[in-house]
C-alpha cells in the first residue's frame, strides 16, 4: 500500500496540508472560545480532525492518527450529544495541546527528523476528559435520549434497514443459499455483507442470513471473517444468474452458492445450517444433497481465476504510461515546490542578463541595426513581463501569518489575565515568500511585548478612563515599493525615563541627553541586550528579543521604527521591500573588485570636496557632513584589496543607512545602478562578513552584494 507509493511528494503534501488544516483549526477553536460555545464550528473542527486522522493513517503516523482520533471522538460527542455542561475554554486548551503536538511532529517531518513524539498521554487525557464530560452530562443525555433516539454513528437506529421475508409469503420460484468470504483485512465486512443483501433484495426475497445483525448494518465482522457471510434467499433467477450477480460483490474472495430444495422451512434452514457447520469440517459428503454441489469446485475456481485475471491486468497496466496529464478538471490552484520557483527565478534572472549581454554586445557598436533594435525592444518587453510574473508567483498574502497571532493573543491574555482584542487589517497584502518566513517571529515578539508590558490590567485601564479591554491592531499595507506592517497597542506607552536610565547604564548615549529626540530615545530599545522590564516573564523581558527582532527584520532588508505616547500606546512600524530576490543595486568598484550596494540603504553618494575628515587615535576616520560626523569605512582597507585610489578626494563616498544608523563607504568609483538578481555565495565558501550574496553584472562578471546592516554594526563595535 503506502510503501510502494511515491513518498516524497506525498510527504510534502502531507506537511503542507496538515499545517494548513491546523491553522484553520486553531482559528476555529479560538473563534468558538470567544463565542463560548462550539455550535458554529463543531462540524469544522470535527471534519479537520477526521481529515488529519485519515491522512496520518495513510502515512502510518500512528501517534498523530491516534491523537486526531481521540479529538475527533471528543467533538463527535459534542456534536451528537450536545452536552450542556462544559467549559469551552477547557476544551480549547486540551485541543490546542493536541494541535501543538501534531504541529510539532509535522515540523519534525519537515526537517527530516524521526517522529518520536508520544501522544499516548495526551490521548489518555482527552479520553479522560471525554469520560468526565459524559459523566457530568450523564443525566441530561439520558433524558434527551429518551425523548429522541440518538442517531449518531455509535448508536444507529435499531429498526431493521432490510427486512426478512417470511418464507411462506415468498412467491419466488427457487431458493438458494450463498456463502461469501471477503478479502483479508478489507475491513467493515458487515457493511460489505449489508451491501450484498441490499443488492440482492432487488431480485430476491431474503429469508435468512447469518450473522443476522448484518441487516441493520451491524454484526460481528469476526464471524464473517472466519465463517463467511451466509444468506438464504428466494428468487426467480437461475443458478448462473444468481452466481453472476453475487460475484459482483466487491473484494470477494470466494463464493459458494447452493440450491435448496423446496420444502425447506425457515426453521429447517437454521437446523440445516447448524448441521452443515459441524459437518463441514470433517465431511463434505453432505453436500451431495445439493444439486449444484458438483459445480462448487469449478465455480470457486472461476471466481478466483477472474480475480487473478484482474491482478494480471493491473500488473500490465502498472508499467504503462500514466494517463494524459492534461485531463479535464484540473484544479485552478496548484502547490509548487518553492525550490522550483527559486530556480525559475534564477533562470529568469539569467535571461535578463543574457539579454543585456546580447543587446549591448560590444560587437554591435557603431552598427546601424534598425530591425535588430526593434526586435531587441520586443524581447526586452517580454523579459520584463516574464520577470514581473515570476515575482508575482512568489508573493503570498500575509493572512496566515496574521491569523496565527490570534492564538498568541489568546494564550498570553489568558496567562496574564488581561483581556485583549486583536484587530487585523489588510491581511490580504502580499509579500515575498521569504519575507513571510522571516516576519513571523518578530511579530510574535512585538505582540507579546505589547501585551506583557504595554497593555495594562483592566483595573488600571479603568482608572485611566480607558475601555477595560485592551486593543491591539495588526495592520499591513502597501506604500510605494514597500510593504508596511504595523503593530499598535493602546497601552501605557514606553517609559522614556526607564529607557534613558538603561541607555546610560549601557553607555549607549553618544550625545548630550538634552539633544536626544523622543524617537532616538525610544530607538534604544532595539539595541542588543536592552530590556527595561524589571521582572523576567515567560514571554518577554529577558533582555534579548528586540535586537533579535531588528536582526530578523534587517535580514530581509526591512527596518523598524517605534513611536510611543505615554498612556496612549505604542506603535511599531516595520518596512519591507516588496521583494527580495531582485533588488535595485548600485555597483561600485574597488581595485579589481565590484560590490553592489542595495539602493534601498543608500542615502546619497558624493565626492569629498571640503568636508572635514577627522581621524581619532585608532585611525578611525570620520567625515563631517552638515555638522554631523559619520564614520568612514574604506572598502579597500576593510577587505584588504589592492587599489590605486586611497586618497578620499579621488574616490567616491556612498552614505548608507540602516536602522537610523549611518556610515560612509569609500570606493574607487560608481559603476551604475541596475536591477540585480540576488544569488547566494557558493556553499563551499563559508560566510564572509559584510557580504550578503552575489550577482551577475551585464557583462557576465560577478559583483558581491554588501550587507549594509552587518557593515554598520561592525563599524559601530
Amino acid at each position: 500500500m503506502t510503501d510502494n507509493m511515491k513518498r516524497e511528494p506525498m510527504v510534502e503534501m502531507f506537511i503542507f496540508e496538515t499545517f494548513q488544516l491546523l491553522d484553520e483549526l486553531e482559528q476555529s477553536l479560538i473563534n468558538s472560545e470567544k463565542e463560548s460555545g462550539f455550535e458554529s464550528s463543531i462540524n469544522e473542527i470535527f471534519r479537520i480532525m477526521h481529515t488529519i486522522k485519515g491522512s496520518s493513517a495513510m502515512m502510518l503516523f500512528e501517534n498523530i492518527c491516534g491523537l486526531a482520533h481521540s479529538i475527533e471522538d471528543l467533538f463527535f460527542y459534542l456534536r451528537e450529544s450536545k452536552p450542556k455542561n462544559y467549559d469551552s475554554s477547557e476544551i480549547t486548551d486540551i485541543v490546542l495541546c493536541g494541535v501543538d503536538f501534531i504541529k510539532n511532529e509535522t515540523s519534525k517531518l519537515e526537517n527530516g527528523m524521526e517522529l518520536d513524539g508520544d501522544s499516548s498521554e495526551l490521548i489518555y487525557r482527552i479520553r479522560e476528559y471525554l469520560q468526565s464530560l459524559k459523566r457530568l452530562n450523564g443525566e441530561e443525555v439520558a433524558q434527551e435520549d429518551a425523548k429522541e433516539p440518538d442517531s449518531g454513528e455509535q448508536n444507529p437506529s435499531k429498526k431493521y434497514a432490510i427486512s426478512l421475508c417470511d418464507e411462506t409469503a415468498s412467491s419466488k420460484s427457487y431458493k438458494y443459499e450463498a456463502v461469501l468470504k471477503f478479502e483479508e483485512d478489507c475491513e467493515m465486512e458487515n457493511i460489505r455483507a449489508f451491501s450484498v443483501v441490499h443488492d440482492l433484495k432487488e431480485v430476491a426475497d431474503i429469508l435468512y442470513c447469518h450473522p443476522k445483525e448484518v441487516l441493520e448494518g451491524e454484526g460481528d465482522c469476526e464471524i464473517i471473517r472466519k465463517e463467511g457471510f451466509k444468506v438464504v434467499f428466494a428468487t426467480d433467477l437461475g443458478l448462473n444468474e444468481v452466481k453472476d450477480r453475487l460475484s459482483h460483490a466487491l473484494l470477494l474472495k470466494s463464493l459458494d452458492v447452493y440450491v435448496l430444495s423446496d420444502d425447506f422451512s425457515t426453521e429447517s434452514v437454521k437446523d440445516y445450517l447448524k448441521d452443515k457447520d459441524e459437518s463441514e469440517k470433517g465431511n463434505a459428503s453432505e453436500q451431495d444433497q445439493k444439486e449444484a454441489s458438483s459445480n462448487d469446485g469449478a465455480d470457486n475456481q472461476k471466481i478466483n481465476d477472474s480475480n487473478k485475471k484482474n491482478k494480471n491486468e493491473n500488473e500490465e497496466k502498472h508499467g504503462s504510461v500514466p494517463s494524459n496529464a492534461n485531463s479535464l478538471g484540473k484544479q485552478s490552484v496548484i502547490s509548487v515546490n518553492i525550490s522550483k520557483l527559486d530556480k525559475l527565478m534564477d533562470i529568469v534572472g539569467e535571461l535578463v542578463i543574457a539579454e543585456a549581454m546580447v543587446t549591448q554586445s560590444p560587437d554591435l557598436a557603431g552598427l546601424q541595426l534598425d530591425n535588430f533594435q526593434k526586435s531587441a525592444r520586443h524581447l526586452n518587453k517580454i523579459t520584463n513581463e516574464l520577470q514581473d510574473i515570476v515575482m508575482s508567483i512568489r508573493m503570498v498574502p500575509l493572512s496566515t501569518t496574521f491569523q496565527k497571532m490570534n492564538r498568541i493573543v489568546r494564550d498570553m491574555g489568558k496567562k496574564l489575565n488581561k483581556s485583549v482584542e486583536l484587530e487585523i487589517i489588510g491581511e490580504e497584502t502580499e509579500v515575498d515568500k521569504n519575507i513571510i518566513e522571516r516576519i513571523s517571529d518578530p511579530l510574535i515578539h512585538l505582540i507579546r511585548n505589547s501585551i506583557d508590558h504595554g497593555i495594562e490590567e483592566a483595573s488600571e485601564r479603568e482608572r485611566k478612563g480607558k475601555p477595560p479591554v485592551g486593543k491591539l491592531v495588526l495592520e499591513a499595507k502597501n506604500a510605494g515599493g514597500d510593504v508596511w506592517i504595523i503593530v499598535k497597542d493602546d497601552g501605557r506607552g514606553l517609559d522614556k525615563e526607564k529607557i534613558l536610565k538603561k541607555a546610560r547604564e549601557n553607555n549607549l548615549i553618544h550625545k548630550p541627553e538634552s539633544e536626544l529626540t523622543d524617537k532616538e530615545i525610544y530607538s534604544f530599545i532595539f539595541m542588543p541586550g536592552f530590556s527595561t522590564s524589571d521582572k523576567v516573564t515567560e514571554y518577554s523581558g529577558r533582555g534579548v528579543g528586540m535586537d533579535i527582532v531588528t536582526k530578523n527584520i534587517s535580514m530581509v532588508g526591512g527596518s523598524i521604527n517605534v513611536e510611543s505616547v505615554p498612556d496612549k500606546g505604542t506603535t511599531f512600524s516595520i518596512k519591507f521591500p516588496l521583494t527580495l530576490a531582485i533588488i535595485n543595486g548600485m555597483a561600485v568598484k574597488t581595485g579589481r573588485s565590484s560590490f553592489t550596494i542595495p539602493t534601498i540603504s543608500i542615502k546619497k553618494s558624493f565626492r569629498v570636496k571640503d568636508e572635514a575628515i577627522i581621524e581619532d587615535n585608532n585611525g578611525n576616520e570620520m567625515i563631517m557632513v552638515r555638522g554631523e560626523a559619520y564614520p568612514i569605512l574604506r572598502l579597500h582597507k576593510f577587505y584588504n584589496l589592492d587599489t590605486d585610489i586611497t586618497d578620499l578626494n579621488e574616490g567616491i563616498i556612498v552614505m548608507v543607512e540602516n536602522d537610523s544608523k549611518v556610515i560612509c563607504l569609500f570606493a574607487d568609483q560608481l559603476l551604475g545602478e541596475q536591477q540585480v538578481v540576488v544569488k547566494a555565495l557558493p556553499r563551499y565558501i563559508k560566510k564572509v562578513r559584510g557580504i550578503g550574496g552575489c550577482t551577475l553584472l551585464g557583462d557576465g562578471s560577478i559583483s558581491l552584494i554588501l550587507d549594509i546592516a552587518t557593515l554598520i554594526n561592525i563599524k559601530e563595535v
Partner: protein
C-alpha cells in the same frame, strides 16, 4: 480506460488516490473538494466512477450520492470511509453507492474495487 472523479476535502487524499489510480491505468478526470463540487463536476464530465469521501464541508458524501443518483441513477459511486463510519456507509449504500473502501486503504483493494465496477 475508466474515467474517475475523485472527491475528498483533503488534497493529500485526492493526490494519493489520483497517483494510485493513474498508476493502474485509470484516468482521473477531475477532483472535487466537497460533495457539491463533485455533483457539479459529475454533471459536467460524466465520469465512469466517482470516489466519494464521507466527511466533507458544505455537502457531505451521503448527500452527494443522493444528488448524483437523482441526476443519473446509473452513476457508480465508491465511498471512501474510515473505520467507525459504518453507519454512514450503510446510508450511502441505501442511497445507491456501489461500494466502499476503508481508510487507510490498500492499493490492491482500491484497484480491485474500482476495476470491478
Amino acid at each position: 480506460m475508466k474515467r474517475v472523479l475523485v472527491t475528498d476535502d483533503a488534497n493529500f487524499m485526492r493526490t494519493s488516490l489520483r497517483m494510485m489510480l493513474e498508476r493502474h491505468g485509470f484516468e482521473v478526470v477531475g477532483e472535487a473538494e466537497n460533495g457539491m463540487v463533485a455533483f457539479e463536476k459529475y454533471k459536467e464530465m460524466k465520469p465512469d466512477i466517482v470516489t466519494m469521501d464521507i466527511t466533507m464541508p458544505v455537502c457531505d458524501g451521503i448527500n452527494a450520492v443522493k444528488l448524483i443518483k437523482k441526476f443519473d441513477p446509473d452513476a457508480k459511486i465508491v465511498m471512501i470511509s474510515s473505520m467507525g463510519q459504518e453507519c454512514f456507509v450503510k446510508d450511502a449504500i441505501l442511497a445507491g453507492a456501489k461500494g466502499f473502501i476503508v481508510k487507510p486503504f490498500k492499493e490492491d483493494y482500491v484497484i480491485q474495487t474500482l476495476e470491478k465496477l
